[in-house]
Amino acid sequence: MRASNRRAVIAGVHNTRQARRLEEETSRSLMVKAVLGALDDAGLALSDVDGVSAMADSTSLIYDLGVGPAWQGQDFGAGMFAEAAAAVEKGYAEVVVLVAAQAGSYTDRAATAPWTRPENEFVAPWGMFTAAEFALIARRHMEVFGTTREQLSRVAATIRNNGDRNPEAIYRGRGPFKPADITASRPIAEPFHLLDCAMTSEGGCAAVVTTAERAGSLRRDPVHVLGAGVDFFGPSYQFPPSFDLRGRRDAPSNGWAGRRAADLAFRQAGIERDDVDVLELYDPFSFEIIRQLEAMRFCPEGEGGPFVEDGRIELTGSHPVTTDGGLMSFSHAGANPQMMQRVIRGVQQLRGDAGPLQVPGAHVALCTTGGAGALFTGVILLGDDLP
């Protein structure tokens, strides 16, 4: 077997139904539906699977799906795909199914979602939660670089307008949005207003990672994993989310989380920033898009605000971002499903499955997960072919 045939590909993806609340579902029922959906998309069966990646649920899923003996993954977000890709390239597994789902755990609507509430003794007494963590990063950038409230609104309006036109988005048909609509929504954690923020919802998703050789005979054209990287600065929501937090190496600070990861991913892929056709950026809050464009060197530091002002990040622009409506408008279920869905959207774009939101001639997608407010960012580069 030639080594190149073991290059990792994504052979199938599936999103279950997404909704604000899926009364009849549990996280487990959604996981099962997602796994079967992704395998069907790939043209594979459970009997082909010898690897499962579902964070803490990996081991019980191996048992419940009856796929043992199998490799089990532990990572999440972009790192989950990188881990699975490494596993098939190394030969630890042939067919890995990656899955995440969430239903039924967020019912107390008087509070923010449970996974957003820190319990650390140096964080919780100050009324911190996810929006506030990311707001501290955004505010510092606005003070240092002069990024404006209107620039944040431009980002949120762009992403929400993508979701408005996406038949699969929970907030389909809610638009169109003008930047002024974002600014006019009620303040949550300033600078963020309601429409700068992700929604909360329920849903599941799955993907199948295998080798190029195995994928050659499957139902869909494979999407190649060209490169990936992950940057972590520490546990989320336990320490001050400082833009200038840095480790002991001469390396980017937390405000530029994702730069090292992106540099590594591009080096592995052997391509340049200009080769990227679509950016499925993780959008928990509007400012994250501006920050990630700077962190990943799509524009110089401090110029992300002006960069998003002229339509560049819209579907018809040079750098279309978050084309399904993202966490703001498509879905934001639990911790990991919404991260996996950034990668799944990249796959959809490269397979030409994005319907009214298809980026014409999309050959390379960059997908991200995480953000500086949470002290980590993951990056993965996908291609419809090897460069």
Binding site: A110, A111, T112, T116, R117, E119, N120, E121, F122, V123, A124, P125, W126, G127, M128, F129, A131, A132, A135, L136, I137, R139, R140, E143, V144, R186, P187, I188, A189, E190, P191, F192, L194, Q238, F239, P240, P241, S242, F243
Partner: protein, 139 residues
């Protein structure tokens, strides 16, 4: 005319301190803002840790901060994390003059007064129960 930012008055979420962190909260109860300084390399570690985050030595010594610093970043929260918090409040990162950063809330200020590098000083306030929290006010 904007609302004035105030300290919380009712009980707020607060985890039980560990052996490592208890001296900090005991300091707050006395009106002292403590941090750990390494006996070996003199580096400051905050939030507290078993090991110096500079040289990884154990044997750090608690020291009192002068409680003065500058505002690094902030967010005025209007939609609180749980109903336990009365909005609006300004969650913030301050940089202490000793050179470390901590999370806090800025109080006794109007939201429009807040700006990067605003001089601030610590002000201990009792919230529900026996808990005294190190808030910061404009200096």
């Amino acid at each position: 005319m904007t609302t004035r930012l105030r300290a919380q008055t009712r009980e707020v979420p607060h985890a039980v301190p560990s052996e490592v962190t208890a001296p900090f909260w005991d300091g707050c109860a006395r009106g002292e803002l403590l941090f750990q300084r390494c006996a070996r390399c003199r580096a400051i570690t905050f939030p507290p840790s078993e090991h110096c985050r500079g040289c990884l030595a154990r044997g750090q010594v608690w020291e009192a901060s002068a409680g003065r610093g500058t505002l690094y970043s902030w967010t005025v929260v209007h939609r609180p994390v749980t109903p336990a918090f009365d909005p609006p409040y300004a969650a913030a990162i301050v940089t202490l003059d000793e050179g470390y950063q901590m999370l806090t809330n800025i109080i006794d200020a109007a939201p429009d007064d807040l700006r990067a590098d605003l001089p601030v000083r610590v002000s201990f306030r009792r919230v529900g129960g026996d808990l005294r929290l190190p808030y910061f006010v404009p200096a």
